[in-house]
């Protein structure tokens, strides 16, 4: 449970040998779920809870992929993605996958337009997560 908290320590402790994934999610329960799911799949994960923290974490470390919730306080996933793309992280260089409870096509289109690579809708099954990660890592 220690590394599930969104703090700097968790970021520092993560080993660099494995692929490291950044999870941006504001709902604590869903943070836990996603961490457990990623651990089950054998991935290292750092957790942040809004868009600014994502940008901050990117300054600190290199990540191989970001799982981004769209609706977050302060700076939402869409805006954060736009900023990340503006800062020169290309789609192939750093895949960003939307993770959202919105299921309409408009939402999907909005995410893609912001520069995200893929779209996962909640509730998220382990199988879906595995397939999607496999295609981007």
């Amino acid at each position: 449970m220690d590394d599930s908290k969104p703090n700097n320590q968790a970021i520092d402790f993560a080993p660099t040998s494995k692929e490291r994934i950044l999870l941006a999610e504001d709902n604590e329960i869903n943070q836990i779920v996603a961490i457990k799911q990623l651990e089950t799949l054998g991935k290292n994960v750092d957790v942040v809870s809004n868009g600014y923290e994502v940008l901050h974490a990117l300054n600190e470390h290199d990540y191989s992929l970001i799982l981004m919730d769209c609706q977050m306080p302060e700076l939402d996933g869409i805006e954060a993605t736009k900023l990340i793309r503006e800062r020169g992280h290309s789609k192939s260089d750093l895949p960003i996958i939307a993770l959202t409870a919105h299921v309409f096509d408009e939402d999907r289109v909005r995410c893609m337009a912001a520069g995200m690579n893929d779209f996962l809708s909640k509730p998220l099954s382990l199988e879906q997560l595995r397939t999607t990660l496999a295609s981007w890592l």
């Binding site: 329960i29 869903n30 457990k36 409870a101 919105h102 299921v103 998220l124 099954s125 382990l126």
Partner: protein, 548 residues
């Protein structure tokens, strides 16, 4: 002919006035919609006299006739004089063409039509003058022949102009066959003109009589053709008042024409009619024909009630300019013949023409008054309609907003349910991956299945609202049919066990399992089908068979 021509032009002005009145109604509608202002509607006559072209028109008409009434010149001379001078009528219309749009609202089509007509008449005017001053003396043809030539020239100009009237192109009741009939008429007339000038020395020589009668018949034929086309258009305009009007006119014309014809047959011979200048009787033959056809048409389109009637009589684009000519065609011979019969007119046409002018003007004014009443009534209707439309618009707006709010609400509900659902489903899955007894595993699986069932319900609601809003769209993505079918059957695992119903999935041989489409929509369809199958199968087996 002067009167024919002038009435066509008068009718055009009438149409313009009606159009202006139509615009006023629009303005009135807008005001009625806001209910803040009331616009005093101008009567037809007020509008009529406001127009400079209208003011010039009757003055010119009178001025042209003054020399004749003051002098002793013969009618034949006067006729030519009138023909020549009547082109002056065109001047105000040329002015109308060039007038600023603001003052005289002509559409581009009408503008081009009147330009064309003006140029035609101007050319004809030049030809007429040449005829008078030069042709008659050089070619040694009589003055009458020259006059008749001018007569024919007028017809040709009119027919050609009418055939190519650009704004008739889009007129719903003017078919291209109508146009070609008119063109054919004009062509025949041109040939006849040539024949007439070259071969006929004078209509007053014995050998000229037959040709003269023939020429009159040609006039009648072409006039009838034109009139019939106009009547047809009027009847096709589906305003039953036109039908009634022509019905009455046809009746009156039939009676007069028939009486006159029978009487004339009794004590005259053909050449005497011509000599006595009663050739108008010959006109009764085509008019009788017209009457019959109009009757036939009247009964063919009986009392056509129009629900979406144009607000004013004759507002239907091009009917107004031709309506007086139709009236004239009926009134002129009837009036002339009846005046001859009662002895008010001895032999000459000219006095009769005066009466004809008066009678036609009277008819014109009567129509104008009727028009005015119709305008007022439609003004009231427009007001009522504007209020109704406004109410309808507000209601539509409210309904639209409600629909939008509903969709937004459903989207929010879906989002809020899915977020905790992620916790339930995700965690159940993780627990099931751990070390559990088979009983515990089954229990957690029950939680998972129930939560998935709930998701299906939410999806159904969302899809339903999307269908209602007409926004349902489909994805095109690859999916595995076998996996999808398994997931669906998994949802019913518990229900299946309780009922002891066996479930099987079968695929057609060689069928591709990896498909492209919208898996969530397909899942919904399958869930509903399998759910119903299971619900109504007390025991036995449910088979899901896929084939392409």
């Amino acid at each position: 002919m002067v009167i024919h021509q002038s009435f066509v032009l008068a009718g055009f002005i009438w149409q313009k006035k009606i159009r202006i009145a139509g615009r006023r109604i629009k303005k009135f509608q807008v005001c009625a919609g806001t209910m803040k202002h009331r616009v005093k509607q101008q009567t037809f006559f007020q509008q009529f006299w406001k127009d400079p072209v209208i003011r010039v028109f009757p003055v010119l008409f009178v001025v042209i006739h003054i020399p004749y009434f003051l002098s002793n010149i013969s009618y034949d001379h006067f006729q030519t004089y009138v023909w020549t001078i009547s082109t002056v009528f065109l001047l105000p219309f040329a002015a109308a063409v060039l007038w600023p749009r603001r003052k005289y609202p002509l559409s581009a089509n009408e503008r081009s039509f009147w330009k064309f007509l003006s140029v035609s008449f101007m050319l004809w005017w030049v030809v007429s003058l040449a005829n008078l001053l030069w042709v008659a003396s050089v070619w040694d043809v009589t003055f009458d022949v020259a006059t008749d030539g001018i007569f024919l020239g007028y017809y040709i100009c009119w027919l050609l102009a009418f055939s190519f009237m650009p704004h008739l192109k889009d007129h719903k009741s003017f078919e291209s066959s109508d146009r070609w009939q008119l063109v054919a008429g004009a062509t025949v007339l041109s040939l006849f003109l040539f024949f007439y000038f070259i071969l006929v020395p004078s209509r007053y020589t014995p050998e000229g009589y037959a040709t003269w009668v023939l020429s009159l018949l040609f006039f009648c034929f072409l006039d009838s053709l034109l009139t019939l086309l106009l009547v047809r258009m009027a009847l096709k305009s589906q305003d039953h008042r036109w039908g009634v009007l022509y019905g009455i006119l046809a009746g009156v014309t039939s009676i007069f024409a028939l009486l006159d014809f029978i009487e004339a047959m009794g004590y005259s011979n053909l050449f005497q009619w011509v000599n006595n200048n009663e050739s108008e009787i010959i006109w009764s033959i085509p008019y009788l024909f017209i009457a019959v056809v109009v009757w036939a048409r009247y009964f063919k389109y009986p009392k056509t009630v129009v629900e979406t009637r144009p607000p004013v009589l004759g507002n239907d684009q091009s009917l107004a300019p031709v309506s007086p000519i139709i009236l004239m065609s009926f009134i002129m011979p009837v009036l002339h013949i009846s005046l001859l019969q009662v002895g008010l007119v001895q032999e000459q046409l000219e006095l009769t023409l005066g009466y004809v002018v008066l009678g036609s003007l009277a008819a014109f004014w009567v129509l104008a008054i009727l028009e005015n009443r119709s305008l007022r009534r439609s003004g009231r209707l427009a007001k009522i309609h504007a209020v109704e439309n406004e109410q309808l618009r507000i209601e539509q707006q409210v309904a639209k907003e409600a629909e939008l709010a509903k969709a937004q609400f459903l989207a929010n509900v879906s989002h809020e349910i899915r977020t905790p659902m992620n916790g339930i489903l995700g965690m159940s899955e993780i627990i099931m991956n751990g070390d559990l007894s088979s009983e515990q595993r089954e229990q957690v699986d029950l939680v998972r299945t129930s939560a998935q069932g709930l998701l299906v319900v939410i999806d159904d609601i969302l899809v339903h609202s999307k269908i209602e809003a007409g926004e349902l769209s489909f994805l095109h993505e690859p999916f595995n049919l076998q996996k999808l079918a398994r997931q669906v059957l998994d949802l019913f695992r518990v229900a299946r066990k309780q009922k002891s119903v066996e479930m099987h999935i079968e695929f057609q041989k060689n069928m591709s399992i990896n498909l492209e489409g919208d898996p969530s929509r397909l899942r919904q369809v399958l869930v509903n089908l399998v759910g119903n199958a299971l619900k109504f199968t007390p025991e036995g087996e449910v088979r899901v068979v896929f084939s392409v």
